[in-house]
Amino acid sequence: MRKHLIVGVAVALSAAVLPSVTASSANAASAICTAPNLQAAGGMDALVKAAKAEKQLNIITVPRDWANYGEAIDAFQKAFGIKINDDNPDGSSAYELQTIKTAPASKQPDVVDIGITHTGAEAQDSLGRSLFTPYKVANWKDISTDWKDANGLWYGDYSGSISIAYDSTVSPAPTKIADLTNPAYKGMVALGGDPTAATEAFTSVFAAALANGGSLTNVQPGIDFFAALKKSGNFVSVPATGANYASGAYKIALSWSYNGPGAIASAAGIGKTLKYVTPSDAALIAPPYVQAINAKAPHCAAARLWEEFLYSQNKGLTSKTITTADTKLSGSALFAKLQGGQNIWALGAAHPIMEAAMKTKGTLVTPPAGFEIPKGQKTYSPSFDQVVAARDVVNKNWATATA
């Protein structure tokens, strides 16, 4: 999901040796593996019971400090007594899909969280069949039709906005992207990686375009902006990682909002103060990541329960406040008391996919301070096609412009 690391060479090799993969026979027999919604799965009580019996849930490339996922994992494990296995937390979307295609049955993920651009041909097997199985969560109608597959194969979950992250020693404090040209920031400004490979960096370039006379259909000014920053010496090409921040290799970065709370906590651990601000000249909310259930999921019920949990709009018990008495409640009663995934993500400074509906209903929690998009500021959200078009421009021009 995050950065790119290991190519699945080992995975590919093991697949060549091991027999082909099918869902375990016990599950294959169960109707729950094909249940397209909660009713078909027998309702919440039955789903919780079946999920508890499976005992485990396999997730993949989910970093704990990413969008508050750590809290979602802890709360789910504590409430339902289901152990969550997280394979390769720092892997990429490509790795997730490659694992479904090649891993042995026991290593198959139950669910994936992938970039929306990965839902095309890459998410199909060699015969053109989807790697996913359709499932529509109870709150399905609150997901914008732009960001879900009509048949329920995949569905947007949360998105990030681009914030300016800066060390508290930076003076003056930046408030907008255009500020980054300030000569006082020489050798301080970084990106989260290579915009032709990392979504965070790519989206940052897109935001820089909006702040510099570009638009959702014109990303070039963003590339030109970083080319100019490179020329002035403000832009340093170290990837904006925690280690590089700790060493002082950069002091200001354009970053995902939802990595902020985790990064702030890590910075505090080494005696630094990291601050975040939404740039006043470009509030860009990226297209969401998407959830999907693996068609070969080894834990069919736990996978569906996890999705219901992630899309729950409830305010309620967290991993710290769930008691033993709560875990003895009936499945539906317990589920109703839990803080839902949509609010867990919101507390992690992400924008849950149902944000708009939840605002109307008044079920949305208040996001952490510093991450709100100021009232009245216009936000931009590129469509899928606009992202693809911008991606091709960035891929073609980035290296030559910033060399």
């Binding site: 970039g115 990392a198 170290v238 590089n244 060493s247 290799a249 002091k251 073609k396 980035w398 290296a399």
Partner: protein, 299 residues
């Protein structure tokens, strides 16, 4: 640098014993062949095969047409330039250093340099990049120290996060590699030749022009090509210091095969990989030819 394993069977008396000896010699090599097959030949043939495939699985030459254009064209040029420049700047100082240590150094110093070069030549990747960023990055500790002394590294055009910066960091392992691979050649330069030449009236210049340099040159050229291949293909160090602003083929393969932005470009990545194989082969073939010639002088 891996030593070339060469099996040579001399003067066998009859065909029978030759075959038996052959088999015995080959036996311990079986694990190596298995290893080569599983981790070199098999993946390589898959990469070759896939590089001619479209995303629909049909045969195509399109992947190779794409990699001839920007940004991939630029990446090939920059990678080749990085290999050449880092090899050029490392080869001469490395060779001189190896010579001086071998001729002037005491046994103790020779041993020290030899083990030091061995360690430094295999330093690379993220730790190496991090060392340099922490030292002479824009906010590095050496940079700050020098600035306090009135020397501002970053006042002009210099930045560590550029092509020049990469070359500087690469020298950290390229020079020690040169020392490691060139020292045997210097060792083979026999003192008697120098004495004989002097006895026949040769000046120092005559000796170097007609004997020393012609004997050392093949080793030098071979070492240079090895450095080129090394600088051309390095991945992790460059990845930790750049965000796509220095276009390099290995990094672009990474973006295509395992990135979050490019989708469906894996086979283009494989075509890029085949391009790298081709360039490395072009560099390594003369290396092997030269190696064979030099061995005559070093046995």
């Amino acid at each position: 640098m891996p030593e070339t394993v060469e099996v040579e069977i001399k003067g066998a008396t009859s065909r029978g014993t030759l075959n038996r000896r052959n088999l015995l010699v080959l036996l311990p090599l079986i694990p190596i062949f298995v290893y080569l097959g599983a981790f070199f030949l098999f993946p390589m043939s898959r990469v070759l095969f896939d590089s001619f495939k479209s995303n629909k699985g049909e045969f195509t030459l399109e992947n190779f047409q794409i990699v001839l254009h920007n940004p991939y064209r630029l990446a090939f040029l920059t990678s080749i330039k990085l290999g050449l420049v880092s090899a050029l700047t490392a080869a001469l100082p490395g060779a001189l250093f190896a010579y001086l240590i071998e001729i002037k150094g005491s046994e103790r110093i020779k041993k020290l340099v030899s083990s030091l070069s061995g360690v430094l030549s295999s330093t690379g990747g993220v730790p190496l990049a991090f060392m340099f960023i922490a030292a002479i990055g824009a906010q590095g500790s050496a940079t700050t120290l020098l600035k306090n002394l009135g020397i501002d590294l970053y006042s002009g055009k210099f930045t560590l996060f550029s092509f020049t910066g990469l070359v500087i960091v690469y020298l950290y392992f390229q020079i020690p590699i040169m020392v490691v691979v060139f020292t045997p050649a210097v060792k083979a330069l026999r003192n008697e030749w120098h004495e004989a030449a002097t006895n026949l009236g040769a000046t120092r210049f005559n000796y170097w022009r007609n004997i020393g340099i012609p004997i050392l040159f093949p080793s030098f050229a071979a070492s240079f090509l090895l450095l080129f291949a090394n600088g051309f293909s390095a991945y992790a160090t460059a990845r930790a210091m750049t965000v796509g602003n220095v276009a390099l083929v290995p990094l672009q393969i990474g973006s295509l095969v395992d990135g979050n932005i490019q989708v469906g470009g894996a086979n283009i990545g494989k075509a890029l990989a085949m391009g790298m194989v081709l360039i490395s082969a072009v560099a390594m073939i003369p290396y092997l030819v030269i190696q064979r010639r030099t061995r005559r002088w070093q046995s």
